[in-house]
Point group: C2
Chain length 204, copies 2
């Protein structure tokens, strides 16, 4: 049993790394098994298709990232301070990834959205759920900040979506220029998108 | 000669459409030639590789889009009105594309950035040039608006990049949700990112 679940973990880890480096379409099952050092038969024991594997990789990535977002966005600091920390942790995470593999690999969900969302419905649906969940978490924090009179947006859901969109757009540039400094502007842009007066600008 | 250049155009048109639908990695040269209805030998007469073809498709797309951007951003209307029109035309263009092919295919440059920019240097370089040119065109308009006292940003280049990033992020969502209404918020977000007072909000 131990060895069996090891094989599944090895496949997931190898697929995660290969999808980050080269996307979904470029991957073959034989290549994934080779990178995972498991026989090809193991693959079909755990996953019925490459798409099923991709969904499992996406779920595993979101489980981890959702935990990080919840830790930051739902702690007991002031709401805007938590949002600022999310931007800073995102930048730090991409910088660490760049240091370990040489390039900014970007956001797996954004990458797969542009590569696949008009091609496979199950992956599109999963990515929609994830982005909806991200927007909801940011919306909760903005709503709290509005109750405290710190931001003046009327539609908190739309503002949250714009913040996530800005994040994805700047991560796209960080990947293109292989430069995480592109992300330093995120927090200022959040404040602008929230119509937050500079008076409430929170320090790190 | 007529027939020869026809074949090149046919290959470019077919590749453009296939790259929009399914990205770069999924494409094979045989498939492109079949869609273009040209013999495979023609391909290598015009293009030395699939990468060379992709660069030609990117250049052709940018030549067309750059013309559109220049027409809108460099006419003689007030600067913020021109920027607003760029957002509206972008939304209208994606809506037209959706009506003709059923799905929002997004921005070819954004799609290829996330699919390829950490894999092929020549494509990364070309995409950087294009996004730099977009940012420069938006920067010119913001600089003009600032000279008229209509926006209060200090770093016009950074503001221009944030506007292009917001555009790419919202187009990503439009593709994911197959819904161009996601783009209606673009203009309000531009104003926020420019710290433009609502007093200078320009009407369509």
């Amino acid at each position: 049993m131990g060895r069996t679940s090891d094989a599944k973990e090895k496949i997931l880890t190898a697929a995660h790394s290969l999808i980050e480096q080269r996307g979904y379409t470029a991957l073959g099952i034989a290549e994934i098994c080779k990178a995972a050092d498991v026989p090809k038969g193991s693959f079909y024991y755990f996953f019925e298709s490459k798409e099923a594997l991709a969904l499992a990789v996406i779920d595993q990535q979101w489980e981890s990232q959702c935990g990080d977002w919840a830790r930051v966005l739902r702690d007991d600091a002031e709401p805007l301070r938590r949002l600022r920390r999310l931007m800073e942790e995102t930048e730090a995470g991409l910088r660490e990834g760049q240091q370990s593999c040489g390039t900014v690999s970007g956001c797996m969900f954004g990458n797969l959205t542009l590569e696949l969302s008009n091609q496979t419905e199950p992956i599109r649906e999963r990515l929609k759920e994830i982005f909806d969940a991200q927007v909801k978490m940011v919306d909760e924090v903005i709503t709290e900040a509005r109750e405290r009179g710190e931001v003046s947006v009327t539609d908190t859901g739309e503002a949250a979506r714009s913040i996530v969109a800005q994040l994805e757009g700047q991560v796209l540039f960080a990947k293109l220029y292989n430069n995480t400094q592109r992300l330093e502007v995120l927090w200022e842009n959040c404040l602008s998108l929230l119509s937050a007066g500079r008076a409430v600008t929170v320090t790190a």
